[in-house]
């Protein structure tokens, strides 16, 4: 199984005639079994098509043409129009919205998230690359062209959550090379306020039978890691988690932002050092290098399987062969 999306997920692309959106549409159609993109929206461009996907003026027209509810939308419109596009998707009963656009003011994001919460919809992003279920489907630019995505991602037991789109692929590729495939990888976005944080995605992975371990990429700034640590302790998380923390140098440079808009050390709690300590307190191992992640995960999984074998889950071959550590 997977989380958030699957082979049958239907979605639209808002802003589909933009250059990036045209590429992204091609990539998603080509990847795995081929995404079910049922329409695209660009106001004033009704009647055109993008790689065979019909273009409409409104989300309501997409829904009407599809003849029923649409599961998701990838929103890739300029920052000034993003809030409106997301509101339009939510009010047309779309339940999963991947917001690709970057540089959206925080207040707009917070408004989108609040409306989504009211309507039972979920937002991934903004400033993210979307969601991929290896070999099955991808929703967003994650992993790039189908050929490149297929090279980096492989199906398996690890859930990946990352504040950096590019690092989602780097980490998944490292896992793939070590024989650890991914159940679902989610690029959650690098802004200060995002639709879905680590802690908010954990219940999905926790409920997913395929997922046996979680790998996260994290950065200084914000309290998302503290929130995850709390979640892990409060919910007695069944899975081992391995984290990688980039931007440690920023601890020496308070008030400066690098990498993503959300990375800024403002107080004591959001430094890299503080976050590493917090994660460690919750039993989350923080790897020094990305290349260490697979071995750490394998040994944690092996220890995990020995101590409390989850019912109905078969022991992977590499565990039976003994941990390399």
């Amino acid at each position: 199984m997977s989380i958030l999306i699957g082979a049958d997920t239907t979605f639209i692309v808002q802003g589909i005639t933009g250059r990036e959106a045209v590429n992204l549409t091609r990539e998603c159609l080509d990847y795995g079994a081929g995404a079910k993109i049922v329409g695209g929206v660009t106001p004033g461009r009704k009647g055109r098509d993008v790689h065979g996907v019909p273009v409409y003026d409104t989300v309501a027209q997409c829904v009407e043409a599809h003849g029923g509810p649409i599961d998701g939308s990838v929103v890739t419109v300029p920052p000034a129009f993003t809030k409106d596009a997301v509101f339009e998707a939510i009010e047309n009963a779309v339940k999963l919205i991947v917001v690709v656009t970057e540089r959206i003011p925080r207040r707009d994001v917070a408004q989108m998230v609040e409306l989504a919460n009211m309507r039972g919809a979920r937002i991934i992003g903004p400033n993210c690359l979307g969601v991929i279920v290896p070999d099955v489907v991808k929703m967003g630019g994650i992993g790039g062209p189908a050929k490149n995505a297929a090279q980096a991602y492989s199906a398996g037991p690890i859930g990946v959550i990352s504040r950096s789109g590019g690092m989602t692929t780097e980490m998944s590729s490292t896992l793939t090379a070590a024989g650890l495939g991914q159940s679902t990888a989610v690029s959650i976005g690098g802004d200060a306020i995002i639709g879905s944080t680590y802690a908010e995605l954990m219940p999905f992975f926790e409920a997913d039978e395929q997922t046996e371990g979680i790998v996260i990429y994290t950065e200084p700034g914000g309290r998302m890691e503290a929130e995850l640590s709390q979640w892990v302790v409060d919910n007695d998380c069944r899975m081992p988690i391995v984290a990688f923390m980039a931007g440690r140098f920023m601890d020496e440079m308070p008030g400066m932002s690098f990498g993503h808009a959300g990375t800024i050390v403002e107080g004591k709690e959001d430094t890299a050092a503080e976050k590493i300590a917090r994660l460690a307190d919750a039993g989350i191992t923080v790897a020094e290098e990305i290349s260490e992640i697979p071995e750490i995960m394998k040994s944690k999984l092996a220890a995990h399987v020995e101590h409390k074998p989850p019912p109905g889950v078969s022991v992977p071959a590499w565990v039976r062969g003994g941990s390399p550590l």
Binding site: A110, G166, A177, E227, G255
Partner: protein, 412 residues
């Protein structure tokens, strides 16, 4: 984007919150005129975007207009934490009965603004929150529903404030929350918010920080305050090298060569993207290397842009070689970056194999890219070489194996 105190007070005033009859000037003689207009004792405050100005002598009290002029002249020349003041603020000396704190910030976990209030104003709110948690009120506000007086009232009442003070403070705190929302602030703070001996309530000092991404929506306000489009208001002023980096980025709309930041070391970095740069910069330092710069390339930069950035870094004094590294790319093309950095070496009259310590960018169009790199004899690595290993190789080549060994020793 942070505002100076005199600007923050102006924003507060525009929101209908009472302020003192202050004046701002860049000229000592005018400070005297303002003091004369105020009549009576004044406070002269340095206008700098840094803390600790009281300790540094950036705040002085004057009994007469002559004294105000003399203090203003001193303060205008006084550097605080590396910042020269923008000017001075001349304020009537306040007769304070009670100091309060009122602030609004984002709560990233709740994804809503939160109003903070304390009856222990004038000091650092984080300190109050730690030592006297029952003296800090907190109320979250909706992003969609209108802000209402009761929310401010509840927040204030949490600290035990009642009676006339509660009545008078409520509209002030509500207005502060409204201005936070209306102006896309990430911080709006009045500290202290004072009850004066004459019974009036006045904002005596204010801190405002507007989200940079939203600047375009507040052109009118910024124009009225005289904030130029080129004012970044970052924690420190950009260096010439950093400005040259912005020029490289701005010269071509294709792709990004962003966040070019100067450091003291000797290892030139052409790195990307957002998370990749953070990872690689850490990796170079973990192996004992000292970066000469930070940067983020991405979004499929043109040959021209990659070349411009590589040239800038290669010509930085103290830099002998560059390391060209990224996390796996799917949008940026490996071959285009390769051509850009090679072009930079050739145009500067260098041998690319000599000047490029390592090239580690796997991903889209890598076969084409690696072919070009091979042709010029440049050491390159595919995804089987980790980002940290690539960084280690760069440090070995540029700083020497001893530095790497020492770093490994220190780390173990």
């Amino acid at each position: 984007m942070r505002f100076f105190e005199y600007e923050a007070r102006e924003i507060v005033k525009r929101a209908g919150i009472p302020v003192t009859d202050f004046g701002f000037t860049t000229d000592a003689a005018e400070a005297r005129t303002i003091a004369e207009r105020i009549g009576g004792p004044t406070v002269i405050k340095s206008q700098v975007l840094t803390g600790g100005r009281m300790k540094a002598g950036g705040v002085k009290f004057a009994d007469t207009p002559e004294q105000a002029e003399a203090h203003a002249a001193d303060i205008l020349e006084l550097e605080i934490n590396g910042h020269m003041p923008r000017g001075v603020l001349v304020d009537p000396k306040a007769d304070v009965k009670q100091e309060y704190y009122a602030g609004v910030v984002w709560d990233g976990t709740a994804k809503k603004p939160v109003i903070l209030f304390s009856d222990m104003g004038g000091i650092d709110i984080e300190e109050v929150a730690e030592q006297h948690p029952d003296h800090v009120g907190r109320v979250h506000i909706s992003n969609l529903l209108p802000i209402s007086d009761y929310q401010a009232k509840e927040c204030i009442a949490q600290t035990g404030v009642t009676g006339r003070a509660l009545q008078r403070l409520t509209p002030i705190v509500r207005s502060l929350a409204q201005l936070f929302v209306d102006n896309d602030m990430v911080l709006a703070e009045i500290n202290p918010l004072c009850e004066m001996k004459d019974g009036t309530f006045v904002a005596l000092d204010a801190h405002m920080d507007m989200e940079s991404e939203a600047r375009g929506r507040h052109k009118g306000l910024l124009k009225d305050l005289g904030v130029g489009d080129d004012e970044t208001r970052l924690a420190r002023e950009p260096t010439d090298f950093e400005l040259a980096g912005e020029e490289v980025d701005g010269a071509d709309h294709r792709g990004v060569a962003g966040n070019v930041t100067e450091f003291d070391g000797n290892i030139g970095l052409v790195i990307g993207a957002g998370g990749g740069s953070l990872t690689l910069f850490d990796a170079v330092r973990a192996h004992g290397g000292e970066p000469a710069n930070y940067c983020e390339i991405g979004g499929n930069p043109s040959v021209h842009k990659a070349c411009g950035l590589a040239k800038l870094v290669l010509t930085k004094p103290g830099v002998d070689k560059i390391a060209v590294m990224m996390s796996i790319v799917s949008n940026t093309r490996v071959d285009i970056v390769a051509r850009g950095v090679i072009k930079a070496c050739l145009e500067l009259g260098f041998d690319p194999a000599e000047k490029i310590a390592i090239f580690r960018i796997p991903g889209a169009w890598e076969e084409e890219g690696f072919k070009i790199l091979e042709k010029y004899g440049i050491e390159y690595a595919d995804r089987s070489v980790s980002m940290h290993e690539a960084a280690r190789r760069a440090v070995v080549k540029i700083t020497g194996p001893d530095a790497v060994a020492a770093a490994a020793e220190a780390g173990s």
